[in-house]
Every structure is written in structure tokens, then in C-alpha cells.
């Protein structure tokens, strides 16, 4: 009985988060922000149980997963369970993390893992040790300025193009965030 209620909760979370995410894919900024916020609680909770011996790494890895979700959002297929998609991204980043550290922890890939991704969220953020602002500053101008103006100051693409004289603002944001993900990988 209790198991059924738990599964129902997971299913309704899947439906709820998917609706927010799909709205975000259609350009709804508000829904997308709510999606990322709620998702971050779930991924944080998931990572905390996986990284019990490295609690200091949880928030950094969470930010990396969120960036990967954002950069890879065009690969989501509407008929695919969102849980499976996010889980595969999180698992990829987690394994990449372990490989980078050449740790010998065995990543326990039991069948329950995927379902447990959207289990109880952990809402308390920890301090991230890596400063993304510093990494952003290392990006080339044509990527850094679009990100600073569009993503941090909230200017429109047209305003940014006028201010900076750059023609490819959207591409600059896109490539800059991809480059940021590679830089994060490099600093590990």
C-alpha cells in the first residue's frame, strides 16, 4: 500500500516536471526556472546519497548536471520519460566525476536508481567550491559578453547585439555555455 503511494508520488512528479520542462522548451522562461529549481532539489538529494564520502562535491556536481541538462535540452524526446533522460545525464556526469578522480568507488547501478531520482528532494543548497563567475571571465569576448548581457543582466538579444557590435549573440550564448561545461570538466 505504502509502495503504491510512493510510486504514485513519483509518477505525478514526473508528469509535473515534464510539463514545466516542455513549457521551457517552448521558450517559457518562468516555467523553465521553476523546472530547474525543482529539479535541482531532486538531483541534489540523489547526489548526496551517491557522494556520501565527498559531501563537498555535491553542489559543484549539481551545477554541472544543471548545465548539462540545459546544454542538452534539444536531445529530449517528448515521448521519453523525463526521469530516464535526466537520470542518464546525472549518471554520465557522476561516472565522469569518478573517472576523473580515478576513484575506485563502484557506481552501484541497481534498477531502483532511476526511480529514486525523483524521490524526496533535498532543498538545502550547500556552498559550491568552484566559482562559475571566474570561469565565465575566461571565455572569449564573443561568448562572454552575450552571456553577461543576455543571461546575467537580462537584456534582449537585439539590445546585446547593438551594445556589443556582435552579430551572433544567440550562438555566442550557446557556444559559451558549452565551452563553460568543457572548462568545468577541465578543472576537475
Amino acid at each position: 500500500m505504502e509502495r503504491t503511494t510512493h510510486n504514485d508520488a513519483l509518477r505525478s512528479r514526473e508528469i509535473h516536471l515534464q510539463a514545466l520542462f516542455v513549457a521551457g522548451l517552448n521558450g517559457d522562461e518562468r516555467s523553465y526556472q521553476v523546472f530547474l529549481s525543482e529539479l535541482s532539489g531532486h538531483v541534489r538529494g540523489f547526489l548526496r546519497t551517491r557522494l556520501q564520502r565527498q559531501p563537498g562535491e555535491v553542489e559543484d556536481l549539481l551545477q554541472e548536471v544543471l548545465l548539462a541538462v540545459h546544454n542538452g535540452r534539444q536531445t529530449y524526446r517528448l515521448d521519453q520519460p523525463l526521469t530516464a533522460w535526466v537520470f542518464a545525464i546525472t549518471r554520465y556526469k557522476l561516472m565522469d566525476f569518478f573517472r576523473g578522480r580515478s576513484r575506485h568507488e563502484v557506481f552501484n547501478d541497481s534498477l531502483d536508481d532511476e526511480a529514486e531520482l525523483f524521490a524526496e528532494p533535498h532543498l538545502e543548497p550547500a556552498q559550491a567550491s568552484r566559482d562559475l563567475n571566474k570561469l565565465l571571465k575566461q571565455l572569449p569576448e564573443r561568448q562572454r559578453l552575450p552571456i553577461v548581457h543576455v543571461k546575467l543582466e537580462g537584456l534582449s538579444v537585439t539590445q546585446t547585439a547593438q551594445m556589443t557590435g556582435l552579430s551572433a549573440v544567440k550562438i555566442g550564448v550557446h557556444r559559451g555555455l558549452k565551452a563553460l561545461a568543457q572548462m568545468i570538466r577541465g578543472t576537475r
Binding site: 522562461e29 535541482s40 542538452g72 534539444q74 536531445t75 529530449y76 570538466r185
Partner: protein, 213 residues
């Protein structure tokens, strides 16, 4: 940066995502692979002079069907593997079925010919260059397919790289059929397959290095 601020940054100013972005990348990759391989065959190797005659025979189309099936199978698998959380899907059955069919055909032919002719049937006249030509012809398609994958998010890098390599190899073989004079099934089962396995193996090796994100 705090996670909440980072989330605000990611969400701020988002624009609608192109739902066909993935398909478009692969359309470009397949076009580049097929067109460049065909042009290279026409310019460097030369189209076989009897192409018009041979194109009227069923065996020529059986030959085309082999790399074509592998191309469709590999494309279907690699397009799924470009998305996190997707299984390879049914395309792998097509790959297995195409290889099984060619080997069954090859066996049938080899049983039928005189024992002392078997090696000659397998080697044909061009076994020395076939696999090498296919490998070289696959290079532009290989780069194009890896370009397509690099913009996406494959999580099984070795497998995605191998399938991408197979796709490039199959496209090259398809173009090579315009040049290659060999019409014996055992030859295809050995040398065409080897020619496609070389880019497949290179893809499996380079996948983890080139496709990570």
C-alpha cells in the same frame, strides 16, 4: 556562484528549442558523407564502365542493399544513442540481419563452387585495395557524423562512436559500389564488411575522446 543564481542565469532569456535540431544535424552528416564519397569515387577511382548494364541485374541491387541496410540500421541506432537515456533500439536487428543475410548468401555460393575455386571467389580481383578504399572514402562522412554527435549528448561514448563509424563506413561502401567490379557475395561478406569494420573500430576508439561533454 550560488546554485539559485546559476539557475536564474540558465533560465533567463531562453528561446524556444528547435524540435528537429537532432534530425537536422544527421541530415547534414548523411548528405556530406554520401555526396563526398560519391564525388571521390567519380573523380579519383572512376565509375565502373559497365554500370548501366550491371544496374539492370538483380545482383547489383542485392549488393547495394547490403551497405544500405547497414547505413539505415546504424543511422537509426546512432540517432537514438545521441539522446541520454535511450536504448539502441531495433536498428541493431537490421544490422545483424544484413550481415547474417550476406554471410548466408556467401556460404551458399561457396558450397556451390568447386573447392579449389573457393579462395579465388572470396579474394576476387581487388581484395588488396577494397577495405582500404572504403576506409579512405569513409573519412569525410566520419568527420561529419562525429560533428553531428558532438553537438548532442551521447552517454555511451564507445557504442555511439562505433555506430557513427559504421554509419560512415556504410555510406562509403554505398558509394564504392559505383566503382567496385566485384559481383560475388563472398567477396562482399569479407572485404566490404572489413572495410566498414575499420571505421567502426576507429569510432569505438575515438568516441570516448571526441564525444565527451
Amino acid at each position: 556562484m550560488k546554485t539559485d543564481d546559476f539557475i536564474s542565469m540558465l533560465a533567463s532569456g531562453v528561446t524556444p528549442v528547435d524540435r528537429h535540431a537532432l534530425a537536422k544535424r544527421f541530415v547534414v552528416a548523411v548528405l556530406v558523407g554520401l555526396v563526398t564519397a560519391t564525388l571521390l569515387v567519380m573523380i579519383v577511382l572512376g565509375v565502373r564502365p559497365d554500370l548501366a548494364t550491371v544496374a539492370a541485374t538483380p545482383i547489383f541491387w542485392a549488393k547495394i542493399a547490403f551497405p544500405l541496410s547497414l547505413m539505415i540500421g546504424a543511422l537509426s541506432v546512432v540517432m537514438r544513442l545521441a539522446r541520454p537515456g535511450m536504448t539502441p533500439g531495433s536498428g541493431k536487428l537490421l544490422i545483424v540481419a544484413a550481415i547474417a543475410a550476406v554471410w548466408a548468401g556467401a556460404l551458399y555460393v561457396l558450397v556451390a563452387v568447386a573447392p579449389d575455386m573457393r579462395v579465388a571467389v572470396i579474394l576476387g580481383k581487388t581484395w588488396r585495395v577494397c577495405a582500404l578504399n572504403i576506409t579512405l572514402l569513409s573519412i569525410p562522412g566520419f568527420i561529419a557524423v562525429f560533428w553531428a554527435l558532438r553537438g548532442l549528448a551521447p552517454t555511451r561514448l564507445k557504442l555511439a562512436g562505433a555506430c557513427g563509424g559504421l554509419l560512415a563506413g556504410a555510406m562509403a561502401t554505398l558509394a564504392y559500389c559505383l566503382h567496385c567490379p566485384e559481383m560475388e557475395v563472398p567477396f562482399w561478406g569479407a572485404w566490404y564488411l572489413l572495410g566498414m569494420l575499420v571505421p567502426t573500430a576507429i569510432g569505438a576508439l575515438l568516441g570516448p575522446r571526441w564525444l565527451h561533454w
